[in-house]
Amino acid sequence: MSDVQELTERANKDAMPKITFVEHDGTVRTVEAELGSTVMETALRNDIGGIVAECGGGCTCATCLVHVDEKWFARVGPPSEEENQMLDTAFEVKETSRLSCQIKVTEELDGLVVHTPSYQGR
């Protein structure tokens, strides 16, 4: 294996997954996300609009709701019962809605697209 090949492979391996946020007003931003962090943390770090995250990631406030893009929902998966209970206190909940604090960033989610709502209850 040449040095170039090895470097390229290593760079690809170290490359951070990317997440695309589509804000309610149509603003589209693609940002890098740290493996093991959450989609909510990624949104806050990048000043994505429409994510409040009042409780800071405890799955206790439902103010970090996102609508996962339909193409991605199967890979992200459905909410747990605990999360579903919090979704009961959110608004405009769809089949593909999740709390972004409960979506962990993994390599499989590289390229993920989520939509942020216009209102998180405050």
Binding site: C55, G58, D88, F91, E92, V93
Partner: protein, 341 residues
Amino acid sequence: MNEVIKTDVLIIGAGPVGLFAVFELGLLDVKAHLVDILGKVGGQCAELYPEKPIYDIPGLPVVTGQGLTDALMEQIHPFKPTFHLGEMVTTVEKIGDPLFRVKTDAGKTFEVKCVVIAAGGGSFQPKRPPIQGIEPYEDKSVFYAVRKMEDFRGKRLIVVGGGDSALDWTLNLQPLAKRLTLVHRRDEFRGAPDSVNKMRALVAAGEMDLKIGQVTGLEGSGGELAAAAVKTKDAVERVECDAMLPFFGLTMKLGPVADWGIKMEDELIPVDTATFETNIPGLFAIGDINTYAGKLKLILCGFHEASLMSQKAYHYVYPDKKLVFQYTTSSTSLQKKLGVA
């Protein structure tokens, strides 16, 4: 009734930081009353995550929100603070040097030397559903709380939500209402199983309606509801109603703090980090609601802030006395205050 309550310090917010401020002030013989909009102490700890573990309280490897609240209540017990729960401070007015007149929405008036704002993210208030044009109906035919059940007698009601508040009010109001419809986004309820069973029995007996869906629109005029649009899986249904009660839990809003003449930055209160005083002498801000260089929204930082705030507050309460710093480990006088010596 409208007697003025006079004490040394009024603490706004009975979360962990407000509670610990009672302890730090108490060691310095400064008496405190606390006001909190919630009906219980503990703030976010008790309301948002009573069962969730906290791992960064010094000396406590793990403690739940409720556990920390209970421990703080035990710790401040010797100082016998007075709590005014379920009340919101509406106005804070400076009337002396320093002396403040503070009023609550329950009609109480306080006169205190110092005010300590320990209000965290603000006051907990009901989440308002984002239904277009809901505002004119609020407090006329859309209510986020039930004050008098009798007001709903003989009316067609829609209750929205799947938790205990929605279920409890469904069960309490169903016998009075002309017709009651419960609307929830899914056919599973997080309320107490007994309440869920009772509700399902009423539905099975045809005594009330249950619709799985979300309210998307309102119809009516002059603040009086006529009907609500309920979007179910397959259709949008029109449900006639005289009143709607949405129960989507609580969210934190800054509330009236912004109107008290305090200098603010992005809904936070800048403070002097030596005293945690705001731009108004005698008015302090500690915990999540303040901001300064390096600020971290951690309970442990709020505890530190409470201790330094207390040193300055002491001088306002006892302007002629000299404060001698003492340790609880060695000071008999402090131990007497704590009831252990």
